[in-house]
Symmetry: C2
């Protein structure tokens, strides 16, 4: 075993993780680069500056800057500073559940909330136009109402999950996953 085996393997494992996480990202509506930047910060576990990110990921300065900024906005990466260094450093939150909560929060804001708003408006368009129980309009209203109910439940569950007391849900999930169906 040469002295370099360990570092090389570590770097390879990191690269592999970055690629995997990047793929995952695209499936989640997060741009591949942004996911890769997060993966890098998460897996190295220590603060990195913009240039570190640029070099390791071979991306442009602009791209690195945008991605880092977005990750900070999402609340999954924190800015950090080193004494006697003017550069800004970035570190990923190391708690997986915190990360997941941030993702849920962000997606609720961008997806569920607008969807619910639209559904309410759609329902109001045909409110009180029912021409008897079996009319097309009533059936339409029924369908919209069912969706509304569903997404209201989804919103409530999601909100509970991301709330401070969401710890409870986390525990619930862990237990749930272990109990046989």
């Amino acid at each position: 075993m040469t002295p370099n085996t360990q570092p090389d393997t570590l770097a390879a494992a990191q690269d592999r993780f970055i690629a995997t996480w990047g793929q995952m990202g695209s499936a989640w509506g997060i741009s591949r680069t942004m996911a890769e930047v997060h993966a890098l910060l998460f897996i190295v576990g220590e603060p990195l500056c913009t240039d570190d990110v640029m070099e390791r990921l071979e991306i442009s300065r602009g791209s690195a800057s945008m991605s880092l900024r977005a990750l900070v906005d999402w609340g999954v990466v924190a800015r950090a500073h080193k004494r006697g260094d003017r550069k800004e450093y970035f570190a990923a939150d190391q708690d997986v559940w915190t990360l997941f909560r941030a993702v849920v929060r962000e997606r609720m804001k961008r997806e569920i909330d607008p969807l619910l708003a639209s559904l309410f408006e759609i329902r109001d368009m045909t409110r009180g136009m029912d021409g008897g129980v079996h009319s097309e309009i009533s059936e339409h209203n029924l369908r919209v109402d069912e969706l509304l109910q569903f997404f209201e439940i989804a919103q409530a569950v999601g909100q509970r999950f991301i709330s401070p007391s969401g710890e409870g849900l986390q525990a619930a999930a862990e237990i749930l996953s272990k109990t046989p169906a």
Copy 2:
């Protein structure tokens, strides 16, 4: 109120719904068109043939065909036939929870499962290379293991949800959403 007010309003509400659902779709990694086709079938509530879909959505034959096929593969739309008509008709499942289960199933297959497989491989790359508790490798392994744990829980919860006995989870979610945090 002219005789045409109701039908027009209904059509408008349907269009609005289709647009909304389409947007939603893109956020979910489903192509907009595919989501719109589903929205149409869901909201009209009765079987439609390829030409109906093409006309209403103003899309090409190829696009309609592909979307319909994909929806059937997902299990959220069923083929139907009309007596004395050689055309194929398509009808969306009207149960929202069934729909949601299909989405979860599909996304697990495409996202969680491959991700878990990769994470296992990544872990194996640095297995048994730990150079003491505080080595870089150990810390790396710790991080990977935490992710593995998390996604194994996610997978278990998801599987339980989509299983036949997933009805239980549905009930749980409904209760959960109503209980105050």
